[in-house]
Every structure is written in C-alpha cells, then in structure tokens.
C-alpha cells in the first residue's frame, strides 16, 4: 500500500503526441494553401472545412451531449442571416461573418433554457419546429425579400482571388478554433460531466454534476458552430435564399458525416466530413440518387455500425489519436 496505486491515469500516449504533432504540421501546410492551390481546390477545401465544422458540432451535441437535433439548420440559417444584417448595418463584411455566429450564440442561451427541457424525440422535432419558425420569421424581414432572397453585396468589393483566399483563411481559423474548443471542452472537467450526462442523466445529477449548465454549454457551442458554418457558406455562395439555408438537408449532412465517421468519437466526424466531401465531389452531380444513398447509409450505420468507421476501428485497435479521454495504465506487479 505504501507504493503508489497500481494504476496510473494516462492522458497522453506516444501515438496521440505524434498525432497532435502531425495535425499541427497539417494546419501549417493548410495555412499556406491559397499560395499553392488553384482557385478550384481552394474553393473546394473551404467547403470541406465548413463540413468539418458542421460534423464536429453535431457530434458534440449528439455524440457527447446525447442531444439529437434535427433543427441545427436554424442556427445555420440564422448565422448567414445575421451576417447579412450586420453587413447591411455597415459592419466590415469579414468582421460580420465572425460576429454573426457569436450573436446567434447569444440568442441560443435563452433558447437553451426552453429546448433542453425537451427530451429525446421531443427535442429532436422541437428543434425542427424552431428552425421552421425562424425560417418564416426571417422571411418577414424586408431586407431578405421573402424567398427571393438577397446577397452579401459587400463581398463583391473584393477581387475574386482575394475573396477566395480570405474565405479559405477565415474558414480555416474558425474551424481550428471550434474544433479546438470541443477538444479542450472534452478534456476539461465539463467533458467528463458531459459524457456522464449522456450515459445516465439521473446518475450524473446524483453525483453532483450540474446537468443543465453542462448541457447548455454544449448546446450554445453547437449553435455558434452551426451559425459559423452558415455564415461561411454564405461567404462562398454570396447569395442568401432562406429556403436553401434553413433546409433540413444541412442537418441530414451533419447526421450522415457523424454517423459514418463515428458518433461520440472526436476524430470520427472529421473523417466523416472527408468521406462526405469525397462522395459529394464525385456523386453530387448524379442528382438525388446520392441523397438516397446518404439516407440509406445513415440508416445502415445507425443500425449495424453505431460507432461508425472510426469508432469501430478504435475499438478493434485501441488507438486514440486525439487525447480527449483517460487511459488507465496498469503497472505490472514486481
């Protein structure tokens, strides 16, 4: 007994240190992207960065918070709308793209009090109704001109190449900040609470976990993230039609990416975003068959491979690239 406990808690492993170093190097390489990539590749990679944000946010909500929302398009649309509104009010356009998600996050705080009292399926469709309602209300704004929509005119002041590079850099920075936020959240005390709540809310509460505050943290983070994805999408598309931005399809994409990559794993949704990006690049033009395929994959993965590709891989090989968890190391007895 005089010796230390036979078990030590390990947070960093050689694999995860190598993975973090690799990720850092990748980010540096990506940061210089617009200097060596052509316009097409820069645009496409901006889209991929947006997908990574969306997948990471939906995964934080469902995979870690246990909150399945079919209404994240509400924040996606609001993010784009807020950016247009702010730019119209005279805010510098790229600043507007950054401030808009934060405003949406502010709005999601009072909403969370209400939404988080809904459970399971009620939360899922309740959020969907909220998205429908925000869509209708945004349409009432004269600036939007109903379903005709409007566009982020201020962006046309930039030369196409400058705009493309700026979009890319903003997306890269926002993606890094948001994914890092999830990473540090999961490593923090709140991260343990979040997973305890997902696994058993009553038991977590009885251990002194502040259920509501913890859930709210993740709800607001996901709202900010989805709003950022909406604002960034606006920067690439420039035009804003409420129907497109408030479409439930965005949530369908998020669900597909998260389920295929690995619900409740940190790395999975990033992998899912890359897979979705590749599928979209090659099959996006084949009409709605590829959407049928997305729905079918979501259905099959949820039933037969609930931990997704990465989760299954990790289970089999015991590898965790990003050190978000705790590993127990048994010390061999002398």
């Amino acid at each position: 007994m005089s010796d230390a406990a036979p078990i030590t808690v390990q947070r960093w492993s050689p694999v995860s240190i190598a993975a973090m170093a690799g990720l850092g190097a990748l980010l540096v390489v990506l940061a210089f992207g617009p200097f060596y990539m052509g316009p097409y590749l820069t645009d496409r990679l901006t889209t991929l960065l947006i997908y990574v944000i969306m997948a990471a946010m939906w995964n934080a909500l469902a995979g870690y918070g246990g909150l399945v929302s079919v209404g994240q398009q509400a924040f996606f649309g609001l993010g784009a709308y807020a950016a247009i509104r702010l730019s119209h009010l005279g805010l510098e356009v790229y600043l507007a793209l950054i401030v808009a998600p934060l405003l949406v996050g502010l709005l999601s705080v009072p909403l969370s009090t209400f939404a988080l009292r809904l459970r399971g399926g009620e939360f899922a469709i309740g959020m969907w109704v909220f998205a429908e309602l925000t869509h209708l209300l945004v349409n009432l704004d004269g600036l939007v001109q109903g379903e005709t929509g409007t566009s982020l005119i201020a962006l046309s002041e930039f030369a196409p190449d400058t705009r493309r590079a700026l979009n890319y850099w903003v997306a890269l920075v926002v993606m890094t900040v948001l994914v890092a936020a999830v990473f540090f959240l999961l490593r923090s005390r709140a991260g343990a609470s979040i997973q305890a709540i997902r696994d058993n809310e009553e038991a977590a509460a009885s251990l002194g976990v502040r259920v509501m505050a913890t859930k709210r943290l993740i709800f607001v983070l996901a709202a900010v993230g989805c709003a950022a994805a909406g604002a960034l999408t606006l920067s690439t598309l420039i035009s804003f039609q409420p129907k497109t931005y408030f479409s439930v399809q965005w949530t369908a994409y998020m669900i597909f990416m998260t389920l295929v990559g690995g619900l409740g794993t940190f790395e999975g949704p990033i992998l899912g975003a890359v897979i979705f990006f590749v599928i979209e690049t090659f099959f996006g033009a084949s009409g709605v068959w590829y959407l049928v395929g997305l729905g079918a994959s979501a259905l099959l993965f949820s039933l037969f491979l609930p931990r997704g590709i990465w989760g299954t891989f990790r289970e089999r090989f015991g590898i965790q690239l990003m050190p978000v968890g705790y590993r127990l190391q048994f010390r061999s007895r002398p």
Binding site: V70, F114, G120, I125, L133, L259, G295, A298, F301
Partner: protein, 299 residues
C-alpha cells in the same frame, strides 16, 4: 362572422391533423419511438393510392382499401428490420435510423415521380369541393368526412386497445415489455402488430392528404411536424388529446392566416411553443391549486 367561419374551418382542419397524428401518437404510446419517417410514409401511401387509382381507374377510397394491407405489411416489416434493432441499441438510435429512412424515402419518391405535384382531388369528383352553407359558415363535405374519419379512427383504436386481447397485450407491453414477457406475451410480435396498425392508419391519413391538397415528394416533413405539434399540444400519449391538439393547431393556423398570408404557419408553430412553455411553467405545480385559488378569489 368571418372569424366564426375561420374557427369552424380550423376545427375541421384539426380533424386532418388528428388523422395524420394518429399513427405517430400510437407508435409513440406503444414503443416510445418518435418515427421521423412518419410524414414521408404518409406521402408514400398517397403516391401508392394515386398509382392504384390511376392504373385501374378506381376511386381513391377503393384504392385505399387495397393499399391499407400493403402499408400494414410495410409497418410490420419496418418494425422487424429497423425499429426492433433500433430499440435495442439505445434511446437515440430510433431517431437516427428513422431520419435516415425519411431522407431515403423522400428522395426515392423524387427519383420515381419527379418534382411535379399530384392530387387525388380530381378522382373524387364533387366531394372535393361540395359544401353546405349556414349563413357565413361553410362546411366542406370532404373536410367533414375527414373529421368524421379521424373521430372514428381514434375511437376505434381506443376500443381496440381497451376491449380486445391484442389491445390488452399492446397496453401491457407498452407499460413494461419485460413483465409482459413473463406472462407469456411475445413483445416482438406485439410491437410488430402495433407498427402494422400505426402504418395502416398512416395510409388512411396519406389518402386524405392527397384528397384535400396537393402533394410532392418533399411534402412529408411538414406532415410530420403538424402531426407532432398536434400530439404535443394535446398532451403526448392520449389519443383524444391528439384530436384536441389537432383542433387547437388548426384553429390557430386559420386565425393566423387572417393576420397575414404567412401567419398560417407562424401561428401554428407559435401556439405549439406557447403550449410547451405553459406546460413548463406549470410543471411541478398542481393545477388544482390554481383552480382553488380562482374559486376562492370572489369570496
């Protein structure tokens, strides 16, 4: 008086909402599953009825008789292949799998039928637009029929659940599947039967959707939302509550449409959130206390 007519139209519309909510409510009551593909399945049924009616030149009502067993079988299959497995893998899985199914169904319908809107209204002749007039109040024959069918269906389900052996087995399984198994009930069979019944009612609802309006491959999600709103407003788990919820939703929408053309949907969603918020405020407080306070007030 225009307002009175709007209220009457809203009540009648509520009949349709109760009809579409019936299967969703039943499935939630028995299996605790919110089937996110509910609306898409209703639209699928509408297309099936339309196909049968067109192909054999039948009335949609006769076509429905042929489609109901098909949809019931589809419900049974849905339970056996998707829901049963989902139920065993945690609370979130049914949501994810049925959402995947909805995306799959909607887009498959688009591939098969294209973006054109369809309607069953041309196939039912005068019934689609005939109505009785009482002063300013108009009562459409189809709307009244829809309302009547909703009451008959809800009442029929209630009697079925209360009086028949299968109904009792369903209630027992809904309460506690494990205990039900102890007394010799095969919960998988009971769930499959319940799913078959739920999807059969969805076939009826889909047919009325097709007769009262137009539909296209992406009409499903909106029907799911209306059905869900009716259930929540009426109080989940009660079949008659669903009818009340549908009526409240329909009246709110019709009154909203008087304010602005966009008010129809906004008022519907708004009343849904108001009812939810009201329930949260009252939660934990005995409503009888409120009644007692009100009764004492005049004294």
């Amino acid at each position: 008086m225009i307002l009175l007519n709007q209220v009457v139209q809203g009540i009648l519309l509520g009949g349709y909402y109760a009809l579409i909510a019936c299967g969703l409510s039943f499935m939630f009551g028995v299996m605790r599953i919110i089937n996110l593909a509910h609306g898409s399945i209703a639209v699928l049924a509408a297309y099936l009825v339309w196909m049968v009616a067109e192909h054999w030149n039948l009335s949609p009502f006769l076509a429905l008789v042929a489609v109901i067993p098909v949809m019931a079988a589809a419900g049974w299959l849905l339970q056996r292949t998707v829901l049963d497995r989902s139920l065993r893998s945690g609370a979130l899985t049914p949501l994810l799998s049925t959402f995947g199914l909805a995306v799959m169904l909607d887009n498959s319908l688009f591939e098969k039928f294209g973006a054109d809107t369809h309607s069953l209204a041309p196939d039912i002749g005068d019934l689609a637009f005939n109505s009785w007039n009482f002063g300013d109040v108009t009562i459409g024959q189809l709307a009244l029929l829809t309302f009547g069918v909703a009451i008959a269906l809800l009442g029929g389900l209630q009697i079925f659940l209360n009086r028949t052996p299968l109904g009792r087995a369903i209630r027992a399984t809904a309460d506690d599947p494990d205990t039900a198994e102890l007394v010799g009930i095969d919960s998988r069979k009971v769930y499959a039967a319940a799913a078959a019944i739920a999807i059969a009612t969805v076939a009826i609802a889909g047919t009325f959707l097709g007769m009262r309006a137009t539909f296209d491959p992406y009409t499903g999600p909106a029907q799911l939302i209306f059905a869900f709103e009716a259930i929540v407003i009426g109080g989940a788990g009660s079949l008659w509550g669903t009818l009340i919820g549908g009526v409240v939703l329909g009246v709110a929408q019709n009154l909203g449409s008087q304010v602005s053309p966009r008010g129809f949907l906004i008022a519907g969603h708004a009343v849904f959130f108001i009812v939810l918020a009201g329930r949260f405020v009252l939660a934990g407080r005995d409503p009888r206390t409120l009644l007692r306070v009100l009764r004492k007030a005049p004294a």
